[in-house]
């Protein structure tokens, strides 16, 4: 399936781009993260500590164990600091 991946804040800076489109068969977010980590050092660095990351699926917060079936947009970012 084709998925848009978005990166924000220091995740974006570490990976070096704000968004990309990937072809993947990963069944869960965690599986997608494993695929990304295997690509290049900058991905491995960005995803080194999942406890420092949050994920949204189609703009709703989700867990790393969430299934990717039917998802169009995945976003990775640090804990929010608005307000």
């Amino acid at each position: 399936m084709t998925i848009d991946i978005l990166y924000f804040a220091w995740v974006r800076e570490r990976i070096g781009l704000p968004r990309e489109t990937v072809e993947t068969a990963a069944p869960t977010v965690a599986a997608l993260v494993d695929e990304l980590r295997a690509r290049e050092e900058r991905y491995a660095a960005a995803f080194a500590d999942l406890s420092a990351l949050r994920v949204a699926l189609d703009q709703d917060m989700a867990g790393f164990d969430a299934p990717l079936a039917g998802v169009r947009e995945v976003a990775f970012f640090p804990p929010m600091t608005g307000g």
Binding site: L6, A56, Q59, M61, F77, P78, M80, T81, G82, G83
Partner: protein
């Protein structure tokens, strides 16, 4: 009722003046105004990144939850993004109700959820570099008071 996400500056006074107009049942208006604070004395700017689309969605969900919990006559959430100078307003919320208890509780609820559940990230730009603002444990902890005991 409104949720606004914008780069432009806003006028807190004008927003409040326009707030809750038209009804005679608003007796209490509580507002929160967030301002760029310069703790180090060396900050030149605050850069606020957000997730267009999800931001509006998250704020609308937070507002809907507040309206379900309290009897509000009006409600506003306004948050800026982009580059701000120290002393500039970042965001505001306003809540209107008949009595003060609901207006205060709803405003605090909106702020607590917005802090930890709306996709904004702050970066402090200083003379000597830039650093992302870290999330504060007490902001996450603040959410627990709104959850059902049990």
């Amino acid at each position: 009722m409104a949720v606004r996400v914008q780069a432009e500056a806003f006028d807190h006074g004008a927003e409040v003046a326009a707030f809750g107009q038209g009804g005679r049942d608003t007796g209490a208006v509580v507002t929160f105004l967030g301002i760029v604070r310069d703790d180090s004395g060396r900050m030149t700017a605050m850069e606020i990144e957000h997730y267009p689309g999800m931001t509006e969605r998250a704020l609308q969900a937070i507002e809907a939850e507040a309206r379900a919990r309290w009897d509000l006559t009006d409600c506003l959430i306004l948050h800026r993004h982009g580059r701000l100078a120290p002393g500039e307003p970042i965001m505001m919320v306003a809540t209107g109700s008949r009595h003060r208890a609901a207006a205060f509780a709803a405003a605090e609820f909106l702020m607590d959820y917005l802090k930890s559940r709306a996709p904004f990230w702050k970066k402090e730009i200083g003379d000597d570099g830039a650093a992302w603002v870290a999330a504060r444990d007490e902001d996450e902890a603040a959410l627990s008071r709104w959850q059902p005991k049990g």
